[in-house]
């Protein structure tokens, strides 16, 4: 019901401030839900989820600026960004938890600097500006549809045998391998299921805002927003990240409007609070 309400509100408010707010809410919802697939199933903490978002946005922007119309550009960028995401995932899927987080943060910075350097293709630090390829209403409709599809993908993955495999792997990877679970294949599949919606969210973001830069596309803040959205509401299933993104988008809105200049500090406080809550919560469990 919450998802349908979110999807409906995104299409109903496609103009003005309400339109911008609901659109960012839906984009944050897609990012948090897609993050949650590997995040909750395998306990992977990625600090570079925005890499997929940025790849989708940039490839779409380059395709549109080369003269492609919306749908061919959408299909092409989805294909290419998913392929690029696949390469990134194949490289990092074998890493253990702390190293995985570090590698994803490193990859995020590499892409940011790479797109700053390639001025001829990506517009350098200023980024890419494209003409509006579709109307705001169509964009909101597609975003709402993508959110629903990501949520369905999340639910299907969790209920499938791969979801159960991931629970086993999270509990004890070596034991999972002993009982015949293909852990590497599982990780790649799980990470890809999370990466593709993020690539598509990047495409829709550019279609709505008409501008992307290395800082806004490959943004650490966006990665942190997805991480927080996925973790802040301790409810299992699709509802956790959806409600989490609702909380985070509202918090983000307040932070950006009321605490100008201290945006990162507030995100930092939320991150610190979330980590401490996790630590304290565990202690309570131990006492019981």
């Amino acid at each position: 019901m919450i998802l349908t309400a979110l999807a409906l509100s995104a299409t109903a408010f496609s103009k003005g401030y309400a339109g911008i707010f609901t659109f960012s809410l839906v984009i944050n919802g897609i990012m948090a839900t897609s993050y949650d697939i590997p995040g909750r199933s395998l306990d992977f903490v990625s600090l570079g989820h925005a890499v997929f978002f940025g790849l989708g946005a940039y490839i779409f922007g380059i395709a549109v600026s080369k003269g492609f119309s919306f749908f061919p550009a959408f299909a092409l960028s989805m294909l290419l960004s998913s392929a690029a995401a696949g390469v990134v995932i194949l490289l990092t899927a074998g890493l253990s938890h702390g190293y995985y987080s570090l590698a994803t943060l490193g990859i995020l910075i590499i892409f940011q600097r790479l797109f700053e350097t390639m001025e001829g293709i990506s517009g350098g630090s200023a980024g890419i500006y494209i003409p509006e390829p579709i109307s705001n209403f169509q964009c909101a409709l597609l975003a709402a549809f993508l959110l629903l599809a990501t949520a369905v993908g999340h639910a299907v993955f969790s209920c499938s045998r791969w979801g159960f495999f991931s629970m086993e792997t999270k509990a004890d990877e070596q034991a999972a391998e002993v009982i015949g679970i293909p852990t590497r294949k599982l990780k790649v599949l799980c990470l890809m299921t999370g990466a593709v919606p993020a690539c598509m969210a990047g495409i829709l973001y550019l279609a709505r805002t008409s501008h992307v830069s290395p800082v806004s596309g490959f943004s650490l803040t966006l990665s942190i927003t997805a991480l927080l959205g996925s973790r802040i509401v301790p409810i299992k299933g699709v509802l956790g990240p959806v409600l989490g993104s609702l909380v985070i988008t509202a918090a983000e809105e307040i932070i950006w409007t009321k605490f100008e200049g201290f945006n990162l500090a507030w995100f930092g406080l939320i991150l610190l609070g979330a980590a401490l809550y996790q630590g304290l919560n565990f202690r309570e469990l131990k006492k019981e």
């Binding site: 790479l114 942190i224 930092g268 401490l276 565990f282």
Partner: protein, 283 residues
């Protein structure tokens, strides 16, 4: 070419200093402290502010600021290490990573608010040394010497003193170390204090060599992490050597390409190294 090599050696010395502290915190507590570089930036800002009142040399300031950074390290311990000591090692590492990222973000905004966007530079003019036809800036040579002395003292402390031995014992086996009467809480607290002091020293030295942006903390930490991963987590000699290697790589890349290309090369090396050598669960 030789001038670039020397420049790389100076930069590498400072990186090594930063990495040694990070390695200490990881080796003993399993904490991947992303706020480590922000402590270096804090030290640079404090040094710059202190120069308004009195023209301390970098080393005098480092000695005077030691108790302050020890205290900051203790405080940091209560936020990014102590709350997670009961979690399993991988969960504790990830939780400390998230918490320290939070601290780093808070500090970055506070630094910009306090210092502004202006880069922090505390360069003091020092006579140039002429050696075998090469011009070596006196300040850089002195700082390299100081960095080498600090790392040597740190290695001596870890190997030859009782608190250092306790830290190494805790890093090897927490439970056995506790059975021998080592207090894990106090030892971990001391290690965090020592790591913060080293970060402070590195920050003061760095700002005396190159301008440091108030938002460069996370960047510095990641470079230090590259050194720690390449040199081996938990030991001190490896990061010292890897720090010098990174200094050379940066100097050469800076000579051949642009500043952004330097970052691309450094981070690509970090990721490649992680993927190829470290972090494989089976290893």
């Amino acid at each position: 070419m030789i001038q670039v090599l020397i420049s790389g050696l100076f930069l590498g010395g400072v990186y090594a200093l930063l990495a040694v502290g990070l390695s200490l915190a990881f080796g003993i507590m399993g904490v991947l402290n992303l706020a480590h570089g922000s402590l270096a930036v804090l030290a640079a800002i404090l040094y710059k502010k202190s120069l308004v009142f009195y023209s301390f040399s970098p080393w005098t300031f480092c000695i005077l600021a030691t108790p302050l950074f020890l205290g900051i390290g203790f405080l940091l311990h209560f936020f990014i290490a102590a709350p997670f000591r009961n979690l399993s090692p991988p969960s504790a590492t990830v939780a400390s990573l998230i918490a320290s990222l939070g601290v780093a973000l808070i500090l970055e905004d506070l630094f910009v608010w306090w210092q502004g966007w202006e880069p922090i530079s505390t360069y003091i003019d020092f006579p140039t040394i002429q050696l075998l036809g090469l011009k070596i800036p006196g300040m850089r040579a002195a700082l390299l010497g100081m960095a080498a002395v600090t790392i040597s003292v740190c290695i001596f402390f870890m190997k030859k003193t009782d608190p250092g031995r306790s830290m190494r014992a805790l890093a090897q086996d927490k439970e056995t170390a506790s059975l021998y009467g080592i207090n894990p809480g106090i030892t971990a607290l001391s290690a965090m204090g020592l790591a913060a002091i080293l970060a402070g020293v590195a920050g003061v030295f760095y700002s005396a060599l190159y301008p440091l942006s108030p938002r460069e903390g996370i960047d510095l930490t990641l470079k230090a992490l590259f050194i720690v991963v390449a040199g081996g987590m938990g030991n001190l000699r490896g990061p010292a050597v890897a720090g010098c290697a990174l200094g050379f790589i940066e100097s050469f890349t800076g000579l051949l390409f642009t500043y952004t290309s330097t970052d691309i090369v450094v981070y690509s090396l970090l990721v490649s190294y992680l993927v190829l050598k470290r972090g494989r669960r089976r290893q």
